[in-house]
């Protein structure tokens, strides 16, 4: 086969939604290069999900199945896909950029003598792949120059999973050769972290604080703003990592996802892992001293300035307005 191969991810029988964005990116690439696009899904029993994949307008879909692939391991998935890629020889391989993909796709690429172009946000003619640098403050353009497959992963939210014409896909089942001794790690079942006592998911107003606050001792400044507004207080990861606010108030890919009427980001730069947790907000306001901070990219209103001056002024203005 020559063409574009998209790797669809499933967890416990459900397809990860970002897989459809990877499909969209693969179809974009296929259209640009006039290459056929096919999909592959890996697991122990993925028959039930295959019709969902096949309905995405992909002419060919493969199921890689093996009892040792029931639970994800980097070793198992790397072996399975290594064998498949060597047999099929796709020109391009597209992954969704998930925690699972981060865990094994770099190793798979290395085993194939390749390098994963990770976290792609745009594909231009060439193809040239754009990915973010310096936590979103810069874009880099990347090109694959070697022989062999060009392997990329796409960032969440970068490609729109559109409606596609349904067509009857040709489905093949592939059984890789895997020996139990080749799987060196033993994964446990997923479990939830600390008990979640605050549900920020239903909050209407959120004031969220980032590393711009500099010190735990300054948290009361934003707490006061939240109180004046009648909002819940939330934070970016470093604030929770430092223990300045509890983990359960963290917004982002490894924290909570929120969609309030108002999200007021104070001293938050706007890294993608934070944005995915809050970009469903109806209105985003950002206060940041850096006019080029990526948070302004998603903000409806922005104030460029020192939060230690702006936040107290805002608290005072809110108190006055509310009487």
């Amino acid at each position: 086969m020559s063409g574009v191969l998209v790797v669809v991810e499933q967890h416990a029988g459900r397809i990860a939604r970002i897989s459809w964005e990877a499909c969209a990116a693969a179809q974009h690439l296929g259209a640009q290069l006039s290459l056929p696009v096919s999909a592959v899904i890996v697991g122990a029993q993925v028959e039930a999900q295959i019709s969902e994949v096949a309905a995405r307008g992909l002419p060919r879909v493969a199921r890689i199945e093996h009892p040792l692939l029931a639970q994800y391991t980097a070793d198992g998935f790397t072996l399975a896909l290594e064998q498949f890629v060597k047999a099929e020889q796709p020109d391009y391989i597209v992954f969704p950029h998930t925690y699972q993909v981060r865990d094994y796709a770099p190793a798979l690429a290395a085993r194939l003598g390749q390098v994963l172009i990770s976290d792609v946000v745009a594909i231009g003619d060439g193809p040239v792949f754009t990915r973010q640098l310096l936590q979103g403050r810069l874009n880099g353009s990347y090109r694959h120059v070697g022989t062999g497959p060009c392997i990329i992963s796409v960032q969440a939210g970068a490609f729109r999973a559109g409606e596609t014409e349904k067509c009857a896909a040709e489905v093949t089942v592939v059984s890789p050769t895997i020996d139990p001794t080749q799987i060196r790690t033993k994964p446990g079942e997923p479990f939830r972290g600390s008990s979640q006592t605050v549900d920020l998911g239903s909050a209407q107003l959120i004031v969220s604080v980032g590393r711009g606050i500099k010190d735990a001792a300054n948290i009361p400044i934003v707490q006061e703003l939240a109180t004046a507004l009648g909002a819940e207080l939330a934070a970016s990861r470093p604030i929770c990592d430092n223990g300045w606010l509890p983990m359960e108030r963290q917004i982002g890919s490894s924290g909570q996802t929120v969609s309030p009427k108002l999200y007021l980001a104070v001293g938050i730069s706007g890294a993608i892992q934070h944005l995915v947790g809050m970009k469903g907000s109806q209105c985003v306001v950002a206060i940041n001293k850096d006019p080029d901070a990526p948070i302004f990219e998603v903000a409806d209103y922005g104030i460029v300035g020192d939060l230690f001056e702006v936040v107290p002024a805002l608290s005072a203005a809110l108190k006055a307005a509310k009487g």
Binding site: A74, T98, Y99, R102, D103, Y104, P106, A107, A109, A110, R111, G113, V115, L116, S118, V128, R131, Q132, L133, L134, Q135, G136, R137, L138, G140, S141, Y142, R143, H144, T185, K186, P187, G188, E189, P190, R192, G193, Q196, L205, P238, N242, S254, G255, K261, L262, Q282, C283, V285, D292, F296, E297, D300, Y301, G302, I303, V310, A313, L314, A317, A321
Partner: protein, 256 residues
């Protein structure tokens, strides 16, 4: 336990970003540098493992001469010694090229455990540790918050998406990529800073290590992201901006 920690020097977070004349990277003159954040957590995990189980912590870092400062910082925090891979052309290597360089420097040490940060703050590849494991033929686990030594190897806590976690058992030697937040970071003490000056920093060069392979992925250039969304900027003094925002929240957003 013999532990290696790969540490990377990256531009300081608040540094002003300007694209250099060649359009290939940012202007490095006057740039301040710091230890990559998740690497600081990797170092902390290594130091705590050593405190519990004994052994040795060695840091390894590849880059130009300025990297020496970050190496001293790690030694001041408690690493025992360092390997410095002198290299002025890291920018022309892809992730596999950098991982091969680090692997060649690490291999003769025969460590029980290799820790890297999850992701660098400048390139943000999030790959070097996983590739390193593949190149060295070792098992790995990524996004790790806690490491426990067991009879047969390690039990680690891995972060999953949206507040989920998972435990993984794996044999040693192994490679782990460390996520931030698992421990509280320590500061270097005055005594630590003094001691760091006499700790061993062994220098090797990329050509000593003999791993020059042509890259398969090239970064051709960098650009400033262009704004797609029109944000209404509220200017003036802090007081004026605050008043303007209150107006917007009242009459346009209607949340007051």
């Amino acid at each position: 336990m013999k532990i290696i920690v790969a540490i990377k020097q990256v531009p300081e977070r608040d540094a002003q970003v300007r694209i250099n004349a060649a359009g290939k990277w940012i202007e490095e003159v006057d740039l301040q540098y710091a230890l990559n954040e998740s690497d600081a957590y990797a170092l902390e995990e290594a130091l705590q493992l050593k405190e519990k189980h004994g052994g040795e912590v060695t840091v390894v870092s590849a880059g130009p001469e300025r990297v020496g400062q970050t190496i001293r910082e790690a030694l001041a925090k408690g690493a025992d010694r360092a390997i410095y891979v002198a290299s002025n052309d890291l920018g022309s290597r892809d992730a596999l090229g950098v991982a091969r360089l680090l692997a060649a420097a690490i291999q003769p040490e025969n460590p029980d455990l290799i820790l890297t940060g999850l992701q660098s703050e400048d390139l943000g590849l999030g790959q070097t540790g996983v590739i390193l494991a593949e190149v060295l033929g070792l098992p790995h686990a990524s996004l790790i918050l806690h490491v426990e030594k067991t009879e047969t190897g390690l039990t680690v806590k891995r972060e999953l998406e949206e507040g989920w976690f998972q435990t993984i058992e794996l044999p040693t030697p192994a490679v782990l990529t460390i996520q931030s937040g698992g421990n509280k970071l320590r500061y270097a003490t005055l005594m630590g800073i003094k001691r760091a000056k006499i700790k061993e920093v062994r220098q090797v060069t990329a050509s000593d290590l003999g791993v020059d392979v042509p890259p398969v992925v090239l970064m051709e250039g960098v650009t400033m992201p262009h704004k797609q969304k029109s944000t209404q900027m509220l200017g003036g003094s802090p007081k004026e901006a605050a008043a303007a925002l209150v107006e917007k929240l009242k009459f346009e957003v209607r949340v007051l």
